[in-house]
Symmetry: C3
Subunit: 164 residues, 3 copies
């Protein structure tokens, strides 16, 4: 266990959502699975910076109506939401050994070239929660658009502790 | 085994392609691998809504020349094609324990924001074939374009049954 | 061991970078992890066609200022860079059993449709280094942009030999 990862997550700027109630997935599809666990790998569904009521943080496009700071804030919120998926899967963030891979999709104009600065929002939240072990392999890709006008989507995979 | 998953797949609106003959991959590259299996994980190559003869279902862009219904139909066809990759790998869809992850890439205009409705085509086919076990973690990303004018590409990973 | 994979890699058109010195990740973020290993799976961080000094090979967009040949060359360089991540992780390319999955993100105009020809750069380098075992499952996605003006990014996962 990483002592305190749950406590640290609960001090972030947004609450870690509880995806058990209401159940995960309503707005995006009828049969979405929040996570798939196989052995120690936990694959998490794509997550956007939305509140549980569907309010989208910073809709739009980087390089157009959004600043890098807003994109960074959206990446942080998508990551905090993803922490909620981990809790739904295994109860506690303390069960995470380390994040494996973060694919971060950033809605940007063709001229936008600071996707990595947006993606730092993911790395920073993971570091604030998991400490040194929170480092993650990462790719940030500039997409044309995302569902419901979101400017960021995170697809995260983590490895769980033995016995988790 | 999920009794009947092969039979259910063979009743879908397109035939599940046989990628053994002609061999998978010709138009897209010389050395493509249809799948990689490691333990119970089966990683499948990216699949578009093309017939084996190269006819592309609904080429173009969502939000421009294609409706959400056409995108949904393309997502279904890419999924049905991917079922053919699974059969090529392990012989029968009955060997699938559950899908793990569906990354669905949707070609859309910057203003298009209904990627998740397109991606329901993936979830619906998986549910029709695998039933309750067919739920999958999913992300739908809006890309600028895809090879050969396709409007959708699916990258699917599944978990196989023990002993498969 | 595949005899000679390291030697073959060192005869490619670009040197395989040494990501131990200077350490991997500086320009893209403070806490990036070059790789994550779990069992025999080695997940590698996203890699662009940049030199260690930050010089970007062929910045821009396919279908606009770049030819398919330039995109192909960029894909090759990103792959050669990724070989450096594998060496950082396990010391020798001879530890690779087979590549698992190559996600190749190509910056292209909405009208560009030859992403697969760009992606052949990945497959060709893997074949030149690993021989028949170098075939990989692949998807090539056309994105709106990438960090620092890069035209290509590769996210590669490989499987290591038993005992690696």
């Amino acid at each position: 266990m990483t002592p305190g990862s749950d406590a640290r997550a609960d001090r972030l700027e947004h609450p870690v959502p509880d995806y058990s109630d209401p159940p995960y997935g309503g707005r995006y599809g009828k049969r979405l699975k929040a996570f798939h666990r196989t052995g120690s790998l936990l694959v998490l569904s794509g997550m956007t910076p939305e509140d549980r009521d569907g309010t989208v943080l910073h809709p739009g496009r980087l390089g157009e109506n959004l600043t890098v700071e807003q994109g960074y804030a959206a990446a942080r919120k998508a990551t905090i939401n993803t922490l909620g998926l981990i809790r739904l899967a295994v109860g506690s963030l303390g069960q995470v050994l380390a994040p494996v891979q973060a694919l971060g999709f950033v809605v940007g104009t063709p001229g936008f070239d600071r996707h990595h600065e947006v993606g730092e929002g993911v790395s920073d939240v993971l570091a604030e929660v998991f400490g040194e072990a929170g480092a993650v392999t990462r790719a940030n890709l500039g997409v044309a658009g995302l569902a419901r006008g979101n400017c960021f989507e995170l697809v995260l995979t983590v490895e769980l502790r033995p016995g988790a």
